[in-house]
């Protein structure tokens, strides 16, 4: 529990930096930091594979992609006063709604102390996840491969140079 509070104290400021900093590159780097913290939380929850996937996929691949996008679009740091007030209001509204939902969920599930239930043998291990993936979730697993193929084909069709036949 102590670990959780320490992590929370570090993660939340990092997450706030992501959305509040005016320079998009700093935001992206703060995002990497936040994702690492979340990965540590996964380790604390015995979900080692998820923790590694979090680092490899999110902190590694996706943030690099975001950085590429920032560099290629050469986004300038935001000037003070930029951004429309209506959008800002919508953002605050959505945030308030999510906060409300968090409270509601806490009210619906008042006591779910995760530590009290003993975890099944090998919980969160690669072997267990692989077993679920190839038994219970066999169809979604196979469908995902088709989905990725379709996405690649679609991206190639869209990105092909605009030449007439």
């Amino acid at each position: 529990m102590t670990l959780f509070w320490i992590l929370a104290c570090v993660t939340i400021p990092a997450a706030l930096t992501v959305i509040l900093h005016r320079n998009p590159v700093y935001s992206a780097l703060a995002l990497v930091f936040t994702l690492f913290q979340v990965a540590i939380m996964f380790v604390a929850l015995d979900a080692h594979l998820i923790a590694f996937l979090q680092i490899i996929i999110y902190a590694g691949a996706i943030v690099v992609l975001i950085l590429f996008a920032i560099m290629l679009l050469s986004l300038e740091p935001e000037e003070p006063g930029d951004g429309r007030s209506s959008l800002r209001a919508a953002g605050w509204g959505a945030a308030a709604l999510l906060g409300l939902e968090l409270v509601a969920i806490a009210a619906v599930f008042p006591d779910t102390p995760a530590a009290e239930k003993p975890l099944p043998e090998g919980y969160g291990s690669v072997a267990k996840i692989a077993e679920r993936l190839f038994t219970t979730h066999l169809l979604p697993f196979e469908l995902t491969s088709v989905l990725l193929l379709v996405a690649v084909v679609g991206a190639v069709v869209m990105a092909r140079r605009r030449t007439g036949p």
């Binding site: 169809l139 679609g154 036949p165």
Partner: protein, 483 residues
């Protein structure tokens, strides 16, 4: 060592999907390695072969009520019926596209495989009995659809349609996933069978939130008010052959996916969700019909008409009975024939670099193309619901199912809306038969594929109008056996 649960039942269950996906990949590979550049016919017939193979696989796999993959995927009558409707929609769209795509300078090698991939996603949606499978089916169907909407690169409107569809589609997907997460949190499972058993003990608030978000996401895919804003722009901007696929195939798969989820997974909460669907249905058909009246572009008018028809379909889901489900399947079949026919005629009126989609372009069409105008008139009358055409029978069964379920008010609203829709459908007919052409329209070259497409749609519109029992019995039985 674990045993992978993949037996004969599983192989048969996804056989239609496998066949169509393999054919799509086959066309992609063939197009990659061939050196000469001949027309679109060869790959078109190859696609038709794939669709026919998938239809046969669906019929062979038809085993009422049987489920595979641990109950997450069904090969029951509902799935097979949906598969056949989607195959019909894709086949006729491809047929419309053979010459049309050349006319607008889109390569067949890009158009045809994407259509087949979209159909493979529709198959998954028709049989999904698990929220994760439903999600993947929606995505496999939608991603090719986003690309297809923007496949006409020279056209600004096509690109705009693709971007709009993609952004709003991604938004809807996030709603879908959030809804799935809430339902999973409340019930502890994503399978429909598990959800329906856990409904009574699940925390009510989380469940209601999940259902509300799922209605938003699926409502977007079907194109119902108030999540319809993308529909007119996307339907108008996309190439017409793609619009036909979206308005019929994607709508059919999304409606059946929604119907199966609500009539089996959430059946125990019918009282709660039927009120929401009641209002959505009334708003959708009324707004679709009223706004369609003021359109001056036939393609856009058909887009709003398609929004209105989504309203009739949602009304049948709101009835919450297997009878309503059967009415949905039959209506989708009817809608496929008459709507695909109408879009095919819109393509036939257009010429190179001249879409001719305005209402005034149809003026005096009857003197130049009497047969085509006659076919269009029959499609529009069927969409309106005039006997003995198939649209009338379809609406009749929806109204009958609503009355049987005690929703007389909704049935009356469906009838009133059909009367309103008569105004704009008849307007096109009046333009074609009673007005003189306002301007010189270039003579149209004969396009055999397109004419065959119109003929097939016309045959279906008339045949199933006079002999509806053939399809109706199958539609009813399939939903009665739904578990």
């Amino acid at each position: 060592m674990i045993e992978i649960p993949f037996g004969a039942a599983e192989a048969w269950a996804i056989a239609p999907f496998t066949v169509i996906a393999l054919f799509a990949m086959g066309i992609l590979l063939y197009e990659t390695f061939r050196t000469d550049d001949h027309g679109p016919e060869l790959t078109f017939w190859f696609s038709i072969l794939g669709l026919a193979g998938a239809a046969i696989a669906s019929l062979l796999a038809w085993d009422n009520g049987s489920v595979a993959f641990g109950g997450t995927f069904a090969t029951d009558g509902v799935a097979v019926f949906t598969n056949l409707i989607c195959i019909l929609a894709a086949g006729l769209s491809l047929m419309m596209g053979v010459h049309y795509m050349e006319l607008i300078r889109v390569r067949a090698r890009e158009f045809q495989p994407l259509v087949l991939f979209a159909v493979s996603g529709m198959f998954i949606m028709g049989g999904a009995r698990d929220l994760i499978v439903l999600f993947l089916g929606i995505e496999v169907m939608s991603i090719p659809a986003y690309v297809l909407a923007g496949i006409h690169r020279q056209d600004h409107a096509s690109g705009e349609a693709a971007l709009k569809y993609f952004l709003l589609g991604a938004f809807a997907t996030s709603f879908l996933l959030y809804g799935i997460a809430l339902v999973y949190g409340a019930t502890g499972t994503t399978t429909y069978a598990g959800i329906s058993m856990a409904l009574s003990t699940a925390p009510h608030l989380a469940l209601l939130g999940g259902i509300a978000l799922l209605i938003v996401a699926l409502g977007f895919k079907v194109g119902v008010v108030p999540f319809h804003f993308w529909a007119p722009d996307v339907y108008q901007g996309a190439p017409t052959a793609v619009t036909a696929l979206m308005a019929v195939g994607i709508k059919a798969a999304a409606v059946v996916g929604t119907a199966r989820l609500f009539l089996s997974g959430f059946a125990g909460m019918h009282v709660e969700w039927s009120i929401v669907l009641w209002w959505i249905s009334v708003a959708t058909m009324t707004l679709g019909n009223v706004v369609a009246i003021v359109q001056s572009n036939v393609k856009r008018m058909l887009a709003y008409s398609s929004v209105a028809h989504a309203g009739y379909l949602i009304a049948a889901i709101a009835s919450g009975t297997p009878r309503g489900g059967g009415a949905i399947l039959f209506y989708l079949l009817a809608y496929a024939f008459m709507n695909l026919g109408a879009f095919a005629v819109v393509i036939a009126v257009g010429a190179k670099d001249e879409p001719n989609e305005k209402m005034s372009d149809f003026a005096g069409l009857a003197t130049r193309r009497p047969l085509l105008s006659g076919a269009m008139a029959l499609f529009l009358l069927s969409l309106m619901g005039i006997p003995p055409l198939v649209g009338f029978v379809g609406k009749l069964y929806i109204i009958e199912a609503l009355i049987a379920a005690g929703q007389v008010g909704l049935g009356v609203i469906v009838i009133l809306n059909s009367v309103v829709s008569g105004y704009y459908y008849l307007r096109v007919i009046i333009e074609m038969f009673m007005k003189d052409a306002t301007r010189e329209i270039p003579a149209l070259d004969p396009r055999p594929y397109l004419m065959v497409c119109v003929a097939i749609a016309l045959a279906g519109t008339i045949f199933f109008g006079i002999f509806p029992d053939l399809a109706l019995e199958a539609a009813r039985d399939s939903f009665a056996a739904l578990r």
